[in-house]
């Protein structure tokens, strides 16, 4: 046994960003380097953790050796490992991007508030990462609440970072939504504790039985998470908050933060409330997803501004995640549907980060992000436009991207259980996504006589967008191992007959 095999990697993935949060606050000059080093460090610790989980199955770790019920436990299974990998990889790309973005020498008037942005971005982002990793590793529902709040505070502060009127107002709305969502969730936690006298996920798993207490807990927690996860029709706060933030922040909010609420919902639904949920509730959530796909896409088709288009695309794509609930109803296709939605989360995270970063580059170079006036942008920024296009391919779900594999599995689950309505919805959603992505790429091919003067965009900012978009596409060719890994510690209700 080497140190690598036995190290408490899951602890490191929280401790590293947490200490980096303090360090970046103290040593502002070195902040970008500390940030990049921390994200690289979290890649290493996630790799170590992944090796442990692949080798010996789900892990559990008692912080400080206290154990249940008073201590805090951490646990890692296939799902949490994949989520950690996602936050680590996205984290590296965004950090590299942000290091350049917040220190760019030829800052425009638009980014006059540079100094305080640079000062606060890094600590907030590190705390955000710590909260996120803690959330993915939480073993009890109260710890989920605390990390959800930490994440929310960091996210709101980041959203307000731009300091302009629209950003502050959007952040304020985001904060109200986030706090009320968390309180709903906490109320659910309290009810579950009242009924079963434990908050531990594993201990609760076998105990929760249908009844008024379980139903009200499910209703409260689900509503809280749906509003924090910006699920249609509770998405109203997301587009302004995401679109008005500085580019790296938009990417983090859209790719990672909204996924946290969904992650909790997924865990609760399949691990705790498996015996409580009814087909009607599952269908109801699916219908919300359908609404999100159609409404979000329709809005994306009408946005005049690029970043708003990308933000509405997030609303639409989050709708797909909701489809897991109705599609997993059928025992034969449950595991497929569940894997599909987790893989969808990964693919969307890569694609959406790449798309926001590319959109940010475009907006930076052009000095605005009005879609109608983007003619000739390709000549100036071929790499960013390529990144946008590749990310778009994954969002649309065209092969061989990660989005394609996820949609393939969703379709397989839908058709396998004879749910043709959902299958049709998935395809229609893809075509709508194609329509809004092409709205932008359309301008990549128009010719302009006189190239307008454009701001220079640093190479690292272009390449970090491109690298992530390539990853989003390549995810389609390396899905076999992650999907295999997901089965480690998959919720019990997934082990349906006929599945291996």
């Amino acid at each position: 046994m080497t140190l690598w095999d036995t190290a408490p990697w899951l602890l490191w993935s929280i401790v590293l960003p947490l200490s980096a949060g303090i360090l970046t606050f103290l040593f502002r000059r070195a902040a970008p380097w500390i940030g990049i080093a921390t994200t690289l460090g979290s890649v290493v610790s996630v790799a170590g953790l992944a090796a442990q989980v692949v080798h010996s199955g789900p892990l559990r770790y008692s912080v400080g050796g206290w154990g249940v019920p008073l201590g805090i436990d951490l646990r890692a299974d296939g799902l949490s490992v994949l989520m950690l990998v996602m936050s680590a990889v996205i984290g590296v790309a965004v950090s590299v991007y942000a290091a350049r973005y917040f220190s760019d020498a030829d800052a425009t008037d638009e980014r006059a508030v540079q100094a305080h942005q640079r000062a606060y971005f890094w600590p907030l982002w590190m705390f955000l990462l710590a909260g996120l990793n803690g959330l993915f590793l939480a073993a009890d529902i109260f710890h989920l609440y605390v990390t959800l709040e930490l994440l929310g505070f960091a996210a709101v502060s980041l959203a307000a970072l731009a300091g302009k009127r629209a950003a502050v107002v959007a952040a304020m709305r985001y904060l109200l939504v986030s706090l009320s969502g968390s309180l709903f969730f906490l109320f659910g936690v309290a009810i579950l504790y009242a009924a079963y006298a434990t908050v531990d996920l594993t201990a609760l798993a076998g105990k929760v039985q249908p009844g008024p207490l379980a139903w009200s807990a499910l209703a409260l927690m689900a509503s809280g998470l749906l509003i924090k996860g910006a699920v249609f029709p509770l998405h109203f706060w997301l587009p302004p908050a995401h679109a008005n933030a500085p580019t790296p922040v938009s990417a983090l909010l859209s790719a990672l933060v909204v996924k946290a609420s969904f992650y909790i919902l997924l865990r609760l639904w399949f691990e705790l409330f498996g015996a409580v949920v009814t087909p009607a509730t599952a269908t109801f959530l699916g219908l919300l997803g359908a609404g999100a796909i159609l409404w979000g896409s329709a809005q994306a088709l009408h946005q005049p501004r690029l970043k708003l288009l990308v933000a509405y695309s997030t609303v639409a794509q989050l709708g797909y995640l909701m489809l897991v609930f109705p599609l997993a109803q059928n025992a034969g296709s449950a595991l497929t549907a569940w894997s599909a939605c987790v893989y969808f989360v990964l693919a969307h995270a890569c694609a959406k980060t790449a798309m926001f970063l590319a959109a940010g580059n475009i907006a930076h170079a052009a000095g605005h992000d009005r879609i109608a006036d983007l003619d000739g942008i390709t000549q100036a920024l071929p790499l960013s436009v390529a990144a946008f296009a590749l990310a778009g391919i994954s969002l649309i779900g065209l092969p061989p991207s990660g989005g394609f594999i996820a949609k393939w599995m969703l379709l397989q689950a839908a058709i396998g259980s004879g749910k043709w309505g959902w299958a049709t919805l998935i395809l229609v959603g893809s075509l709508l996504a194609a329509a809004y992505v092409m709205r932008v790429l359309w301008h990549a091919f128009t010719q302009v006589e006189v190239a307008r003067p454009l701001h220079r965009v640093p190479r690292t900012m272009e390449w970090s967008a491109l690298a992530l978009s390539l990853l989003a596409v390549l995810l389609g060719l390396m899905a076999a191992r992650p999907v295999e890994l997901l089965r480690s510690g998959a919720p019990v209700s997934m082990h349906a007959p006929g599945q291996t």
């Binding site: 505070f153 502050v168 109200l176 706090l179 309180l183 906490l186 009242a194």
Partner: protein, 105 residues
Amino acid sequence: MTLEPYLLYALAGVGLFAIGLYALIARTHLLRKILALNVMGTGVFLFLIAIAYRSEPVADPVPQAMVLTGIVVSVCATGLALALAHRVQTTTGRMVLAENDESGA
């Protein structure tokens, strides 16, 4: 059937939560919204304390620990909310959230 005292407190907690939620939605002034959130939070805390006293004579320590943590979180949240509300007032001149601010660049 007699109403156990702890149940009375628990129901009062639910009531506070409901009142706070109503105010959060119905009031437009930001300070009132922040206060409403605090009322909601207090409702949840009351509920938790109530269920801790189910097992008299010795109270269950776990909900109490949760409430302590919850209060810390709540104080932080209020602080952040007040700071943001102040920024809203200085940038927009008003203490309310305008309906239509998506398009502002």
